[in-house]
Symmetry: C2
Subunit: 303 residues, 2 copies
């Protein structure tokens, strides 16, 4: 907390600087205002409710597990994201801070979405039992620890650790794989149209969120390529638990098709996401003298 | 930072608790989703631009001062609100935290609104010179100090000090008086229709924000009526600077009418707001055994 400014020495928007309307994060904020206004309360869950009522016990349990993982994941990323806002605000990054207010609101809305779905379809029992040891390791421990470290250590290293955990593994690898599993199992069958509609909106929001993470990790690593090692160490440290929690989730299928799908492909999909994230960040370490180029590329990712 | 949980022990929305759909702060969140979606970029500022171009130097300066105060005020309340989210999240108040994500997003949007207005009407010079000593005392010092104290002291006393400064004086007295001054000077004349449209939206958002502040102060004071003294001490400590900064702003009019308005009435209006806030909170100290009743009343305020 030593870095905390106890007083202000001025306000950017009062000066001739105003806001940097061309800042990549400001542009992301404009996108969020334009596309982030969906409301879970407008989604019809009546078909989902009927599908859940009609499902067999094993089918219902697979869905319950996915929802248990996703719902708590959204609650975790809502509660644990504040230290990033704190860091950006303390560094005087007004455009980043402004964008991140939409980010936080969207995570809260995602938390509401899964709670509302459960309420509407009648899956209101305690789902915490589906949080396995691997899941707890990532969401109960490693994520909050990496994030909360920013309150006492705002070094670039600590920022890389936090953003890699949050944006690259939790959002970029696990959430993306989760969306894929819902689409895979329920888009074609039409069994859970409300869930699919929500997931589509969530995915768009998360695309912007990962845009912030990619942009900021590249900014940090381009300024000090040694941080790339911190990035890969963090990725590697999380990988076994991330893969473990996916395997825990699909164990119920015992390798057999459910909802017409072979769920074991989820592990490969997650590893593919992991490699995509790593490749996307690795560019920054060779381009630390070409920050603007990377900035433009990050912008293209965000589009 | 001692109170900071480094790990999670569970996630409310995964249990059978889900979310408390009837929690007053959850209801406020639903309202924010429904009514908070306005976008500064959709507002037409062309008439405002012409009016500013055509205004005399003294008239232009009065508007510049109001915008300088308001714009920095919105930036301040965006940057300084994080400790309240931190406190609510740490206390496990999930519904409050969810509501506050919309609150923070709205403050960021208000910051954008004033910067955008300045950009669009061509009032892009540095306006920091209009931040007088009284203004600096409140917005550069007392507000961030009261808010940031929550990072190291989450006691009810510290919470009452922070919320009183933020919601009762900065929002409830100063911002409300600021809106009034814009409506007073520019609603009837039609000179700044873009500004008036924005102010109308801002006012609606701030109504919800003050609803949170009133509700939470009443919750705290109803549980320990001694905190009412902390509330009044904080109010009284801010009053001279709050009145001072309003007087600084209207000094340019030298007591004469501008835009057809006697601006000295602003001081009385601000004192009226101060008394309204004090009366609204004072109810809680006599009703500390009737928390639910107060909760219902707070809910009625929010409606």
């Amino acid at each position: 907390m030593n870095s905390l400014p106890k007083v202000h020495t001025g306000f950017q928007s009062s000066t001739e600087k105003l806001l940097d309307w061309n800042h990549p994060m400001y542009k992301l904020y404009e996108k969020a205002k334009k596309f982030g206004g969906w409301n879970p309360i407008d989604i019809d869950f009546s078909v989902d409710r009927q599908s859940v009522l009609n499902s067999g016990p094993k089918e219902r349990e697979l869905v319950a597990q996915l929802v248990a993982l996703f719902g708590a994941g959204e609650e975790a990323v809502t509660l644990d994201f504040l230290p990033v806002l704190y860091t950006m605000a303390n560094e005087g990054r007004l455009e980043d801070t402004i964008y991140l207010t939409t980010f936080l609101y969207e995570e809260a809305k995602h938390t509401e979405f899964f709670a509302r779905w459960r309420q509407e379809v009648g899956m209101t029992e305690d789902l915490s039992k589906y949080h396995t040891d691997n899941y707890k390791k990532v969401f109960y421990e490693m994520l909050p620890q990496a994030m909360n470290a920013l309150y006492t250590d705002n070094s670039p290293e600590a920022q890389v650790r936090a953003l890699t955990t949050y944006h690259m593994v939790v959002e970029g690898m696990l959430a993306e794989s989760g969306y894929h599993s819902f689409r895979l199992g329920f888009q074609a069958t039409g069994l859970l149209p409300g869930m699919i509609e929500g997931i589509k909106n969530l995915g768009r929001d998360e695309g912007r969120h990962i845009g912030f993470g990619t942009y900021t990790l590249r900014r940090l690593i381009s300024q000090d390529p040694k941080l790339y090692d911190v990035f890969t160490e963090t990725m590697d440290g999380l990988l076994p638990y991330a893969i473990g929690l996916i395997n825990d989730t699909i164990a119920i299928t015992e390798g057999e098709e459910m909802y017409g799908v072979d769920w074991t492909i989820m592990t490969d999909y997650a590893i593919k996401q992991y490699n995509t994230r790593e490749a996307s960040i690795s560019k920054a370490k060779d381009h630390f003298d070409a920050y603007l180029e990377i900035e433009e590329e990050a912008e293209a990712i965000i589009e």
